[in-house]
Symmetry: C2
Subunit: 234 residues, 2 copies
């Protein structure tokens, strides 16, 4: 259940090398507890609206425990957002498992990522990390993992159903998440509903349902050579 | 030169109806001066690293003038970011005017938006607006204008050169800017260079140069019907 591997280096940094297994395990539990308590507060009130004291109270812990495990509120914010994004990525994969077509797969992914605020939370963490490059390694590991797991899941479905796709799985995954961040950040600023966000994501991905038949077909795509049909403009 | 129409309603709100033309003009000049002074400070130090006192000093103005014209630092931040994004949009159109092919057009747009930090600045404003819905109308007008002008510019090029495009101009514009926000926000968090950001944008847009010939061709795109080629799963 707990998402540990992407954060292992950070965690190890706080542990003395000779720590007993029991101590490490208790430390992991405490870290996880603090992340669980901080995440809803950060989502609701943002970074500046949440204090270390608030988080400590919500976790029934001492403020010093937060600084011991995470050093700063900003580091805790980014780690919460990264962890939540990887949980979301797993949920999207689960939701998309039943898809029978590439279009159904994309629809299931888009509906899942737009249902909650994890992507908006992560976008805030990205904006923060721009000013706090000490937090960049965690963000980088998270994004690498997001894309590698997304690509693996998509490739698995392509293989399983014998889909033919124009795009490589890695490219599809990068495209999907970049679009998700852009559309959701923009949509949250304008107070859009999850349904509107999902429709906009599908529109931007070029996946809006033009027909009710959700099956792939042979398509002929003509891209006329520009020089052969110019109207003479310089 | 000055980008006024998207901000006219805000500006008008601060002006008494009977104000003389000269006063309105002086007010516009002062607003513009304050925006010019604030923008580089916000870009360099972010919202929390910039004070109203800093901005007043940079503009050779009084702090009370900032609150008179913009009410809050947050409103000034969002207005700076919106104005700068519309300047960038105009610069991208100019840069893309010489493109002879749809691919060349996209390359010119991507190179221009990734050369500076206006999109990252705007992404920060979007994240802020999520928590400050009183600022949403300005963001909304900016995005509407971004898309309508982007779609108009692209449609003009399509018409001029007789390009055939699979996507509607409005859809192309929305897709381009959503991808720009997602890729640039992610890339800035990881400290990527403009060249890396541009390459990633083209990759995500599916526009990386696979051949050196930059001409459109007739392409056959096969999307096999999933049900006809399933390997029996589910």
């Amino acid at each position: 259940m707990a998402e540990t591997s992407a954060f292992a280096p950070l965690e190890a940094a706080g542990d003395p090398k000779h720590a007993a297994r029991a101590t490490r395990s208790a430390g992991r539990k405490m870290r996880s507890l603090l992340l669980d308590a901080a995440s809803p507060l950060f989502r609701e009130r943002g970074l500046s609206g949440t204090s270390i004291t608030d988080i400590a109270a919500a976790a029934d812990a001492f403020p010093s425990q937060i600084t011991y495990y995470f050093r700063t509120k900003e580091a805790l914010f980014v780690e919460c957002a990264c962890r939540d994004l990887l949980y979301l990525a797993r949920a999207t994969e689960q939701a998309a498992l039943k898809a029978r077509t590439p279009r159904g797969y994309t629809h299931a992914l888009a509906a899942t990522v737009t249902a909650g605020d994890s992507v908006a939370f992560f976008a805030e963490a990205l904006a923060l990390t721009r000013r706090r490059q000490d937090l960049a390694p965690l963000v980088e590991r998270t994004i690498e993992r997001l894309h590698s797991e997304g690509a693996r899941a998509y490739a698995g479905q392509v293989e399983r159903h014998g889909w033919r796709s124009l795009r490589a799985p890695d490219e599809s995954s990068r495209r999907f998440w970049a679009v998700a961040i852009g559309v959701i950040l923009e949509g949250y600023a304008m107070g859009r509903s999850p349904e509107e966000l999902c429709a906009e994501m599908l529109r931007v991905l070029g996946e809006q349902a033009k027909s009710t038949e959700d099956t792939g077909r042979l398509r002929l795509v003509e891209e006329r050579d520009a020089s052969s049909n110019s109207n003479g403009e310089g």
